[in-house]
């Protein structure tokens, strides 16, 4: 089995979000980058298939050279090879089309992308890849087993879970629950050393034009002070929620 895991290079969850150049650019100053958490859950499941069934696992990112440290981390966790499509990731459909080109050439059985990235929160790359490949597709995936070319996947739905069976090739939108938190791997020294020798191929982009473009950013208005209510006067809280906030 050949697996491709899509890796988004995103600011660490504790990053301060600021913008520069008249709010047209994200301020990368002092920002640490990580593998998008949803992608990491997916990568960890891919490692499980590698250990259990000898699957070959490639990782891919659409982005500039600055994302290579994140791809190297995925290699240190255990992926076999990395591909970087050398162009700025502007919008979901552009990213999905670039990745679909690699999939068409690579003959992958399973494509794993995070349900959404924690920076742009678009949540559409896995579905768009599935549409472009006409592959099976399960989003919000919290369970995946594969045997004899058939997949059983669990999708989290609003208020519960749905178990589905389907054929390969399959695209999943990975998220927490697909693996246990404790299964996430921190790269060890040996992994980091090995990662240096693994192939990281840079491919030119196929010049897809985006269908949407972001011009400016804005930060939410600062919040007012909290109104404190005395612990033995919960009636006051009920009153405020009823009369002032009008939410109960």
């Amino acid at each position: 089995m050949k697996i491709l895991v899509c890796i988004s290079h995103v600011p660490d969850t504790t990053s301060k979000i600021n913008f520069v150049d008249n709010d047209t650019q994200f301020d990368t100053n002092g920002v640490q980058y990580i593998i998008n958490p949803n992608d990491e859950f997916g990568l960890t499941r891919a490692m499980w298939f590698k250990e259990k069934d000898g699957a070959v696992v490639d990782v891919i990112n659409v982005g500039g050279a600055e994302t290579e440290s994140t791809l190297r981390k995925a290699l240190a966790i255990g992926a076999d090879a990395a591909i970087r499509i050398d162009t700025a990731a502007l919008e979901a459909s552009q990213v999905a089309k670039e990745i679909a080109t690699v999939i068409a050439a690579g003959g992958y059985d399973l494509i794993i992308a995070g349900r959404e990235s924690i920076d742009y929160n678009g949540g559409m790359v896995p579905g768009m890849i599935a549409a472009l490949m006409d592959a099976s597709y399960v989003n919000n995936c919290v369970g995946l087993e594969i045997s004899d070319g058939k997949a059983t996947a669990i999708r989290e739905i609003d208020g519960g879970k749905e178990t589905v069976s389907t054929q390969l090739p399959l695209v999943i939108g990975a998220q927490k629950g697909l693996v246990e938190e404790s299964d996430l791997k921190i790269p060890n020294m040996r992994g980091i050393m090995m990662a240096r020798k693994k192939p990281l191929t840079v491919q030119p982009a196929s010049a897809v034009s985006p269908l949407a473009t972001t011009s400016t950013y804005e930060k939410p208005a600062p919040k007012g002070e909290v109104k404190l209510v005395d612990a033995d006067k919960v009636d006051d809280l009920i009153d405020l929620l009823h009369k002032e906030a009008k939410v109960i």
Binding site: P37, S215, E218
Partner: protein, 317 residues
């Protein structure tokens, strides 16, 4: 040129989000000077969409379970039938699942998490939340066909009564891509996605045996229950209740956090809730900086009192 909304149903009934996307669609249709249509699947009372400005509802009857590919093909066919150039969808798990397929099928530009009516038609720019509610972007949809995913509860319901003509629509639908083997869904509980009020518990509650307080408070308010990440990691509560940056987003009208410290990753996911209440015994807990109302106190003393007083308040009507 017209506007189409995908109005979702649950067991034949229109969901609240269906009325919200209709309200949004009506605002766009008015800006464009065109009419508003809706597509529904197995809706029993599609005419109710008229209250929010829908002039025509096309209802597709299917016997099969929800399937993203099947539903996407139905929505595409409806868009073609009415010549829609703008499609409006909700942010439900199902809408987010199927809409990327529609977007690729129609070569449409799709933007999710949209929080307000378009800022203009030319350029067609929308405001959306990004960086897990830590910022907004102003994004132009440059493709000729446009799909807008509206953030839950961001636009609200706006009544604009219109006569709604309901018709049966039977396009050729795609074959299902997956076979549904089993569905486990609690039908008697409000989901975090649909809830007006969410009651959330953190590690401060000490253990799963104390969750009856959270459930009791939620039942009193007709709310959904949620939890912080460590609470689900330790198995005190199911993963599906984990909210925050790496869990579910919450965009309810009221969010009550009990024994939750308010870590940046937690706040990121719940920040688009309108009104936030925190109950925590540590006055230095960061949640107090993000909340609208707060009580500094021991949850084990405050929450039972709150439940009792709320029951009395509800009883008065």
């Amino acid at each position: 040129m017209s506007v189409l909304v995908y109005a979702e149903t649950d067991q034949g009934k229109l969901k609240k989000s269906a009325f919200e996307v209709a309200s949004y669609g009506k605002a766009v249709a008015d800006m464009m000077g065109t009419s508003l249509s809706a597509v529904t699947f197995n809706a029993e009372t599609a005419e109710e969409l008229g209250t929010y400005g829908v002039a025509k509802a096309m209802n597709i009857s299917t016997t099969a379970a929800f399937d993203a590919k099947v539903y996407a093909s139905g929505i595409e066919a409806a868009a073609e039938a009415v010549g829609a150039t703008v499609i409006v969808v909700s942010s439900s798990a199902d809408a987010r699942y199927l809409t990327p397929l529609v977007a690729m099928g129609m070569a449409a530009g799709y933007v999710t998490n949209v929080v307000a009516a378009p800022e203009g038609l030319s350029p067609f720019t929308v405001k959306r939340s990004a960086f897990t509610n830590k910022a907004f972007t102003h994004t132009e949809i440059t493709a000729e066909k446009k799909i807008i995913g509206v953030s839950n509860n961001a636009f609200g319901l706006i009544e604009q009564p219109t006569d709604c003509a309901v018709e049966d629509f039977s396009p050729a639908l795609a074959a299902p891509a997956v076979t549904v083997e089993q569905v486990d869904k609690a039908t008697d509980k409000v989901t975090i996605a649909d809830a007006e009020i969410v009651v959330s518990g953190g590690r401060g509650l000490k253990g799963p045996e104390n969750w009856h307080m959270i459930e009791d408070l939620a039942d009193t308010l007709g709310a959904a229950t949620a939890c912080s990440k460590p609470v689900s990691d330790m198995g005190w509560r199911p993963h599906s209740e984990h909210v925050g940056q790496t869990g579910k987003p919450v965009a309810s009208n009221l969010y009550i956090a009990i024994g939750v410290s308010g870590a940046i990753q937690h706040l990121a996911g719940i920040n688009s809730s309108k009104v936030k209440v925190v109950i925590n015994n540590d006055p230095e807990a960061p949640f107090f900086k993000a909340a609208d109302y707060g009580i500094v106190g021991d949850a084990f003393e405050v929450v039972p009192q709150l439940i009792e007083k709320l029951k009395a308040f509800k009883a008065q009507g």
